[in-house]
């Protein structure tokens, strides 16, 4: 059973990372992320207008198991900055409604959270 769950988690991650177009931030429901139980991921919250985020993103651009969450921002502007940083292949989620920010208690940018949350 645990082998099946692990495989489903890996499949989910692979599905998410390959189904989005290169350089695009996809819209994902928070429930989809919360349904994951395997493989902790790092969530990096950023915005195109956040100057401090630029250095933060550059430092993490090669990080594994990382989702970059564009929040408090326009989708096209967030995608533009990822292209500018040559991060078109990064896994990006567009948090247009702010649900991810609210759930993870993000009140300033940049912010890095882990999911599932560490015990």
């Amino acid at each position: 059973m645990s082998t099946v769950k692990f495989n489903m988690g890996v499949f989910f991650l692979a599905f998410v990372m390959t189904s989005q177009a290169i350089g695009e931030c996809q819209e994902m429901a928070l429930a989809t992320l919360k349904a994951r139980k395997e493989t902790p991921v790092q969530l990096v919250f950023f915005a195109s207008w956040c100057l401090s985020c630029k250095e933060h993103l550059e430092a993490l651009k090669s990080a594994k198991n990382t989702f970059f969450i564009a929040t408090f921002d326009r989708k096209d502007k967030a995608e533009d900055v990822l292209k500018y940083l040559k991060m078109e292949n990064a896994s990006c989620i567009y948090d247009g409604e702010g649900t991810f920010s609210e759930y993870f208690g993000v009140t300033e940018l940049p912010a890095t959270k882990t999911f599932p949350k560490a015990e």
Binding site: W49, R74, D80, V81, L85, E108
Partner: protein, 181 residues
């Protein structure tokens, strides 16, 4: 906000349009009713102030330009047993700011400001030489003392340079503490 900044386009300014309202709780020097004009504080008129602001803030070197229109509202005053309309002159202000920001630590800004106001009208009579010209200089330094907490020091001198008219030279110092919740 008309145009937001983005760190992939440092050359693009943030553009904001704004409008504010200043309510006056005192009289002007033209309708003062107390000895020594003790009831005069500020210019004594309600004002509507629309403006536009350009701010280049996406690099360590900061620069900004603000254009403001000052629209004072006229008021009726009692003059020699009759009511007369006092119409203050429209004003215009240009502010130029520049400075340096050390990310996450401190910032220093300096600015030049020019404000002009047209002549005041008393009824149908324009009061000659009641117009105003003020050139000011300002300087602000802010320091991040802790996360989301900033200490600031500001200095402003009005009538600081060039020729000025119908104004006073004044120095003001302000100490501020800002905390973001």
């Amino acid at each position: 906000m008309l145009l937001a900044q983005s760190f992939d386009k440092e050359w693009l300014p943030q553009v904001q349009a704004f409008t504010s309202y200043k309510h006056s709780f005192s009289r002007s020097i033209y309708d003062s009713q107390e000895d020594w004009q003790m009831d005069v504080h500020g210019n004594g008129f309600h004002e509507v102030v629309p403006g536009i602001d350009f701010w280049y803030g996406m690099s360590s070197i900061k620069a900004g330009l603000t254009q403001t229109l000052i629209v004072p509202l006229k008021k009726k005053i009692d003059l020699a047993d009759e009511q007369v309309t006092l119409t203050p002159g429209i004003g215009h202000k240009t502010s130029l700011t520049g400075g340096y920001n050390y990310p996450g630590k401190w910032q220093i800004l300096a600015g030049l400001e020019k404000e002009t106001r047209r002549n005041i009208r008393l009824g149908n009579v324009e009061l000659k030489d009641s117009d105003k010209i003020v050139h000011s200089v300002t300087s602000t330094m802010t320091y991040a003392v802790a996360m989301r907490q900033t200490l600031g020091v500001n200095y402003k001198r009005t009538a600081a340079f060039f020729s000025n008219k119908n104004t006073t030279r004044a120095d003001s110092y302000t100490l501020s503490y800002l905390r973001a919740f």
